[in-house]
């Protein structure tokens, strides 16, 4: 009886210690992750107003505005037809050139039919096509139909960046040792980055067309691997306060989190004023965001931004 009792007590003590160790580990690991995160990934911020006025005159800034033109590469499939239609009706109107690339043709909507079921192969074909048809467009934005993008804010972010330098921007994630840009929050590539990518596509060793059969990487990770071989690394797009501009979640879920984390300062603690993307929103929510971004505003508050972007022709929801 005694030995049973003492065994029980011993067990309890061991159990308690075990639990403590687990919980302490649990609370420590996110912190260590954060530290390494800050150390390793690169940050890209937009030029501040002061910087802009310091480096460029007003007319030069206007000139920059005309040069920053974005080619939107939107990867669609007939199975998400409603999202596809929503993107056509909403944010893609603000791209200088919006091209829809589909896996198979749809009778309802027009797109460039790549006739390719494999996601990675399809992305390669789309990027190749975009590169060949770029014209004088020097920036490429790859998105899915579940993404909502504010192209003007993207342009502001890349305003002072030279497209002849390799840029690969978005929301950076880590997978083991690989830093990659998440697909659903949009991928930004400069002309130079895309050029290097197209070249490395021809190298079957480094960048095979059919991903390794045993271990199929998602297309966004594949992209990062191929780009890494060409010396292009993923960078995180942030605002002046270090807040991420590319979001792979809906605005509602970000606000719900902020209500829990910053109950007295929900909106400030949530999302950037100049956010570039949100992801996963329903088509209706995307229409509401269109209204919220381009139309709804309080009278009498002006931001004399150094760039001017105008509403697209033949549209009534912006």
């Amino acid at each position: 009886m005694l030995s049973e009792g003492s065994s029980f007590m011993k067990g309890m003590v061991m159990g308690g210690l075990f639990c403590l160790v687990l919980s302490l580990m649990g609370s420590f690991s996110p912190i260590s992750d954060y530290k390494t995160d800050n150390h390793h990934h690169h940050h890209v911020k937009a030029a501040s107003k002061e910087e802009l006025s310091r480096r460029f005159s007003d007319s030069q800034v206007q000139g920059l505005n005309n040069q920053i033109r974005v080619y939107c590469v939107i990867m669609v499939q007939p199975k998400n037809l409603i999202y596809w239609a929503t993107v056509i009706e909403t944010w893609s109107k603000h791209c200088d050139k919006a091209e829809f690339y589909t896996s198979e043709s749809s009778k309802a909507l027009e797109a460039i039919d790549l006739k390719e079921k494999d996601d990675w192969a399809r992305l390669r074909k789309a990027l190749k096509h975009a590169y060949e048809n770029a014209g004088d467009l020097r920036w490429f934005f790859v998105a899915q139909p579940t993404t909502f993008a504010i192209i003007e804010n993207l342009k502001y972010l890349i305003l002072t960046k030279d497209p002849n330098e390799p840029f690969y921007l978005g929301k950076t994630m880590k997978s083991g040792e690989l830093d990659y840009v998440a697909y659903d929050s949009g991928i930004v590539l400069s002309y130079e980055a895309l050029k290097r990518l197209i070249n490395v596509f021809q190298d079957e060793e480094k960048c095979p067309e059919k991903g390794r059969a045993l271990w199929k990487l998602s297309e966004d990770k594949q992209l990062a691997v191929c780009l890494k071989y060409t010396g292009v690394f993923a960078e995180n797009g942030e605002d002046a306060h270090g807040k991420g501009l590319f979001n792979s979640r809906t605005v509602d879920s970000l606000i719900a989190d902020s209500i829990k984390d910053n109950p007295n300062d929900v909106v400030e603690g949530c999302c950037s004023d100049l956010a570039v993307t949100f992801s996963g929103m329903s088509p209706n929510q995307m229409h509401v965001m269109m209204f919220g971004v381009y139309r709804l505003r309080p009278y009498g508050h002006d931001f004399h931004d150094s760039l001017a972007f105008y509403p697209p022709e033949g549209s009534d929801n912006d």
């Binding site: 606000i255 508050h301 001017a308």
Partner: protein, 459 residues
């Protein structure tokens, strides 16, 4: 001896099987030990158990088998109790830790009294609490924003917002109103059935419930008139699930004065000749309209006719000669909305829905339902309040030149006509516009929502 040794070396034996029961059960006894041995999952020990029991049976019952079972129980029992203790210990500590941590985050950091003080101090910077009303000390600004027009209107068009709420909704709904749009009012008062000096709310001395709505409204307006008549020009009524873009309300009201007997909201047709304003979408009375309302009750011209608050209000307004104003923007788009943005922008209301027959002005579905300078939305939940605050006051497209250029309200135009304004910027904009040949910009009334420099106003 013979019995003891094999059993001690193999502790995975049956537990709780006393030698007495084993033998007294007759036929069944062999089955029981077998079953318990199989629980330990090792076939070898099963046969071993059988063997052991057969040897046990041969042994002197009391001493040997008792000893073996005692030892085996001891070995098994102590290991079992160790495992049991381990599980219990883990679970207990987990629950304990959860409670401790849970408490810390759940109270929103109020476990530490210092933090509560901090929050009070923050609040004191935002509002001055006086006579159960919150006087806004600084209405929110963005860094790098030119809000001189909004500031001018803040001084010129003073709005007292009163929010219809109740004791059960203070933390669920009213709090979110307090931290979002009500910060843009000059004064905000939360009207409840019960006094609450901390929130603060005014107790109207009514009960709660839909049938009390008009009583609450009557008393709330009377309270506002008696305590704050000289401190505001306009008096807005809103629900705790209404979101109001107060700056846009000022834009509309700046075309009128506090002495005009007029009130604005989302105009409904039926039951009143000039129509009435939807309660949920919020409505706003001029000081003169409020004065006539109070006077109307003194003279018994207006009484508590029905608990349908908005309708009753509309009937009283008509009786005392207050005009039902047109709150639409210069492109005839509605500004006060009885539903959430999603419903108006994307919803298709069925033709049988009451809404079709109620709206005074023609309903437009789709993006043209709603003005860029919309004033209110209704049925907005807590998260929706913050989302609308984000959409209206924060999220924007950098450098975007809006399609709808809102005309400068009368009240501001007269003041600004003498000043020069930042004409340079204005000119730059027009030359750009000419380049782009944007016909749409000319369409909607006198252009220029930025500094209204005189040259632009030449029509």
């Amino acid at each position: 001896m013979v019995c003891a040794s094999p059993l001690v070396s193999k502790p995975h034996l049956t537990e709780g099987v006393s030698p007495n029961t084993a033998t007294s059960l007759g036929d069944g006894h062999l089955k029981r030990p077998r079953r318990s041995c199989i629980w330990s999952g090792i076939a070898a020990t099963a046969t071993h158990c059988l063997l052991s029991f057969s040897t046990c049976a041969a042994c002197p019952r009391v001493k040997c088998c008792q000893a073996t079972t005692w030892i085996s129980m001891k070995a098994v029992g102590s290991r079992f109790s160790f495992y049991a203790g381990f599980v219990v210990g883990t679970f207990t500590l987990y629950v304990f830790l959860r409670q401790v941590w849970f408490e810390r985050t759940d109270t929103g950091g109020f476990a530490d009294p210092g933090e509560f003080q901090q929050q009070l101090e923050e609040e004191n910077k935002i509002w001055k609490k006086e006579r159960s009303a919150l006087f806004n000390l600084k209405h929110p600004h963005h860094i790098g924003e030119d809000s001189h027009l909004a500031d001018a209107l803040y001084k010129k068009v003073r709005i007292l917002c009163w929010v219809m709420t109740g004791p059960n909704n203070l933390e669920k709904k009213a709090r979110h109103v307090k931290y979002t749009w009500s910060r843009h009012c000059n004064i905000v008062i939360f009207m409840s059935s019960v006094d609450d000096p901390d929130f603060p709310t005014v107790g109207l001395g009514t009960k709660e419930g839909r049938d009390q709505l008009y009583w609450k409204t009557i008393r709330a307006f009377h309270y506002a008139y008696e305590h704050h008549a000289e401190e505001a020009d306009w008096f807005l009524k809103a629900d705790d699930d209404t979101y109001v873009v107060v700056d846009n309300l000022r834009w509309i009201l700046a075309n009128y004065t506090a002495q005009d007997p007029i009130y604005f909201g989302r105009r409904f047709k039926p039951y009143a000749k000039q129509g009435y304003m939807s309660g949920g979408a919020g409505y706003v009375l001029s000081r003169e309209a409020l004065r006539r309302f109070v006077e109307g009750f003194q003279n018994k011209v207006c009484t508590h006719t029905t608990s349908v608050e908005d309708l009753a209000m509309g009937q009283c307004m008509e009786k005392v000669g207050v005009k039902a104003g047109d709150s639409r923007d210069s492109a005839h788009r509605e500004t006060f909305h009885p539903f959430v943005p999603e419903s108006h922008l994307t919803g298709k209301f069925p033709k049988s829905f009451w809404y079709w027959s109620y709206c005074y002005y023609p309903i437009v579905e789709g993006p043209q339902c709603c003005s860029d300078l919309s004033v209110s939305f209704h049925y907005v939940d807590a998260a929706g309040m913050y989302l609308l605050e984000y959409y209206a006051y924060h999220l924007r497209a950098f450098g975007y030149r809006h399609r709808y250029q809102s005309p400068t309200p009368k009240g501001l135009r007269l003041e600004q006509s003498g000043s020069q304004g930042s004409g340079k910027h204005q000119h730059e904009l027009t030359s750009q516009e000419k380049e782009r040949g944007q016909a749409e910009h000319k369409e909607d009334g006198p252009p220029g929502d930025a500094p209204p420099a005189a040259p632009q106003e030449g029509n």
